[in-house]
Amino acid sequence: MDADYNLVVRRLSEAGQKAEAGFYIHYPFCRQKCSYCHFSSSVYERELHLKWLAAIKEEIRRAASFFSDYLIIDTVYFGGGTPSLLTPDEVKCLLDWVRENFEVRLQEATIEVTPAAEAGRIGDWLQAGINRLSVGAQSFDPEVLRVLGRAYEPEKIVSLLEGARRAGGDNIGLDLMVGVPGESFKTIEVNLKALSELQPEHVSVYLLEELDKVPFQRVWEKSPVSEEAAAETYERYRLGLEEAGWLQYEISNFSKPGFQCRHNLKYWKYQPFLGVGPSASSHLGNFRWTNPSGLEDWWSALCSGKPNFDEFIRLSPEEAVRECLASGLRLREGISLAELVSRFPGVDLSGYETRLTGLKDYGLLQVSDGLVRIPTERFLVSNSIISELLF
């Protein structure tokens, strides 16, 4: 592992100045595993939880020993899994540990929270340094929650959010899962109504995807949602949310002005981030790597110090340009061509220009003020547009 980190360090040291980076902490346990989830997680056990705590601190320390000279951490994100299983003390301890090991100028510290979490903890998390909550509500329709196998009632989401507000939470994101079997026309109404009452600062609307290899596949096969229906649903949310004051800033993300998720923006703007925990990914310099997703593999790699990544990629400038474009075009504001040129000097972009003109002529891309973007009404077919531009 060290050998690989050294390659990255050499690259970072060439930059001459510290980079502002996001910091991702992957907590890999859940009370129960959701049938549609493809993220790396396993069922919570006290003993494993403690072992993870010790190991994650070790990983943070080791990462810092390589990278701390070159990074300024400005966002922290606790994702999972169900990181709201972490106690406020544990969260505080980890945040302090990051501060101890890195230079930190925190602008945003997010924790993912399940609606099943105790509302009482929220105040303590905020005390511990968290300033943003991302609530995995999924739906306010009991039928959809049932199909998804979520073990809480819509009322629980409401009470959690109310509790969060009382505790001083002023930056709350709420996730919805749409395009789910069992969804009806009414589901959209119910969800939009709940949102307008609760007024979260941020809303994510995810179309259900990645069905192979998860147990949910069986449910889907029995009553699939047609492409047409899913597309209609997505469009209704998109228009409904915009109308109610949440502005779309990414394919699946909407926010009140000033409340875009800074940490996630790093992914879409192709900026540096460092991830720790099993399956966590990092992107520093022209390197991207991903930790082993299995707990055991992650542990043993950490203990032995032997390199063991699911993926460790040194990107050519050309590959980096492709990835940068592919992720940047997910944003409504699009991507700046001038910035692309200055970030990747020496890369020949002429091929893109020809293809870009073709796509522009058919309204599949827009170009203005030096920014290229996919028109929001084409977001749903963004893959085909990006693929055409890139290859």
Binding site: Y24, L207, E227, Y234, S281, V381, N383
Partner: protein
């Protein structure tokens, strides 16, 4: 010497065992050691072996000591095994005095058996009938003999019973060859006349030709002339094949061998040519020379990563070895730069396409096959139109003539109903229909070639569960009320999808074709409107609905690789597609007409 020469071919329906019998001859006469004798030595190219057919005629000189103790030189002249190459077969036969007609004892007489036997009879050859595969459990020798007598019209007493695979009866065939087939006629004192019956391009030696000396003698160093083209060369090397080449100083009357004479281009060594001496030329060339004319045409366009230069390069290389296909540059508004290629027949087209893709690693878009129409304009000009999009506007056309083939079809009578219906749908006109045995029928039909190029052969096979066999030859041109059916994709005509059809079928074909296209063209970012039109009149319409959802809902830190894979895969899927306007049209769409019922 001339008295001890026997020139002969083996002729058969495909898969009746011709190559195996040739192997046995070579083995028995010791021309190659068993180690050298690979299976089916005469089929050299991989593709031929795979398809079980011989494309390139080759020849072998065998030395055979007869039972009476006399030594003979047997020139075995291999013939191509498919209907597309019937002209080559006829020239190969013209180099012989006799032919061994092989009939599979389990299959009996097939269409090609008949067609080849007729060719042999036309060439005045002595025919030795051989009933092969008598070792098979399903062999029915009696049936085969019966058919030989009643269908082919040869005497059953003359037939030899053979299992080429096991070697049974093979020597008897060689005995019959020396005893029954006459020695070559011809006069050693006359001016040189040699029949060029095969040629190929050797990367080291240039063009190699196979000849049969009919009169006179040819020697190394001779100045020769090709009588059809008038071109002159000096003979550099002469020899014969065993099938390995063996150099000699001369070939005399009746002999068969190869010669190399500095011919650079295969197109200058056309099959059927007569070779003579420059200084003492023959008065008349040998009869029967004609240029093998392409009958089937299609557009070839580079797709994916392949470029027009790659394609041109590959076509030029292929043509070095196959002078019978033609190509010329073509520019399609829809497909861009490509080539219009002409082939001897459908199989020939398939073989060339496969070789382009396999040997040259090209991605190709091929358009639907077309035939060569004769268009007589109102001004009285005669145009040869190989490409539907080149058809003049209707007001300038006086009439159109289309090529007609005469098809010989042999089928068990239980499929007769199916086949008569098929032939009727394909505008066939019956010349003859006769029971040639209690359960087998011979159909002799005139059918427009344009109906045959659209999947006729596969239909024939599937409607007869594979039992019907067919052979055909060009029978001339005939006027027909033909119209051009245009296909519009998003209101723009795509020339490469146009077809020429009979007026009475235009509506049905138009509807069926756009329906097929709708299935073949994948959904795109926009709605795709497909229309069939005759002139300005739209006769059918279908739409391909756009896809609605093609998006990754989430992209977080670890998803870049996955996302790039998805995007790259999409691009991969478009390799065999051609973009016309904003619409990606896959290869299948260009061939959709083949599936129109």
């Amino acid at each position: 010497m001339q008295e001890r020469i026997r020139n002969f071919s083996i002729i058969a329906h495909v898969d009746h065992g011709k190559s195996t019998l040739a192997d046995r001859f070579i083995e028995l006469t010791g021309a190659l050691s068993p180690r050298e004798l690979k299976e089916q030595v005469l089929d050299t190219m991989d593709l031929e072996r795979e398809r079980g057919i011989t494309i390139k005629a080759q020849t072998a000189r065998l030395t055979y000591r007869s039972r009476a103790g006399e030594e003979y030189i047997l020139n075995l002249i291999d013939t191509p095994g498919h209907v597309d190459f019937s002209y080559e077969v006829s020239r190969s036969l013209a180099a012989c005095e006799g032919a061994v007609l092989v009939i599979d004892a389990s299959q009996g007489v097939e269409a090609q058996t008949l067609a080849n036997a007729y060719l042999a009879i036309q060439n005045d050859l002595l025919i030795i009938p051989v009933i092969n595969k008598i070792d098979l459990p399903q062999a029915d020798v009696e049936m085969a003999l019966e058919q030989l007598e009643h269908i082919v019209g040869l005497k059953r007493e003359e037939a030899l019973l053979v299992s080429a695979k096991k070697g049974t009866g093979v020597e008897e065939v060689l005995e019959a060859v020396v005893r029954r087939i006459p020695p070559p006629r011809g006069s050693a004192a006359s001016p040189l006349k040699a029949l060029l019956f095969d040629s190929w391009f050797d990367p080291y030696r240039g063009v190699v030709v196979l000849v049969r000396v009919v009169d006179g003698t040819i020697k190394t160093g001779d100045r020769i002339a090709l009588m059809a083209t008038g071109a002159e060369y000096q003979v550099e090397e002469i020899g014969y094949l065993t099938p390995k080449p063996v150099r000699v100083e001369s070939l005399s009357t009746g002999e068969v061998g190869y010669l190399i004479a500095g011919i650079k281009n295969l197109a200058h060594a056309r099959i059927g040519e007569t070779i003579t001496h420059k200084l003492r030329p023959a008065e008349q060339p040998l009869p029967g020379f004609k240029e093998a004319k392409p009958m089937v045409f299609c557009g070839l366009y580079p797709a994916g990563e392949s470029s027009i230069e790659d394609l041109r390069d590959a076509l030029e290389k292929l043509r070095l070895n196959d002078a019978s296909f033609h190509f010329e540059p073509e520019n399609s508004p829809a497909l861009g730069f490509g080539f219009r290629a002409g082939f001897l027949g459908l199989l020939h087209r398939e073989i060339i396409q496969e070789r382009l893709e396999r040997e040259f690693n090209l991605s190709l878009i091929t358009t639907a096959p077309s035939v060569s129409y004769r268009v007589i304009t109102t001004k009285g000009e005669v145009l040869e139109v190989h490409n539907p999009s080149q058809l003049p506007e209707p007001q300038f056309i006086d009439r159109i003539e289309e090529p007609i083939i005469e098809a010989l079809i042999l089928t068990p009578d239980r499929y007769l109903g199916n086949l008569l219906q098929l032939l009727d749908e394909r505008r066939g006109v019956q010349k003859k229909m006769e029971y040639i045995s209690t359960s087998r029928v011979l159909l002799d039909y005139l059918v427009p070639l344009n109906e045959v190029v659209f999947d006729f052969y596969n239909q024939l096979k599937s409607l007869s569960q594979g039992y019907a066999s067919m052979d055909y030859e060009l029978a001339g041109y005939k006027e027909a009320p033909l119209v051009k059916l245009d296909i519009l994709v998003n209101y723009e005509e795509v020339d490469a999808l146009s077809v020429i059809v009979h007026k009475d079928k235009a509506y049905r074909v138009g509807r069926s074709l756009v329906e097929r296209l709708r299935q073949a063209i994948p959904r795109q970012q926009f709605e795709v409107v497909l229309q069939a039109a005759i002139g300005k009149r739209v006769i059918a319409r279908e739409t391909v609905k756009p896809f609605r959802k093609d998006v990754l809902a989430k992209l977080y830190g670890g998803d870049y690789t996955r996302k790039m894979k998805v995007l790259e895969k999409q691009k991969e899927g478009k390799k065999r597609m051609k973009r016309v306007g904003r619409v990606d049209i896959p290869q299948e769409a260009f061939l959709a007409i083949l599936e129109v019922k």
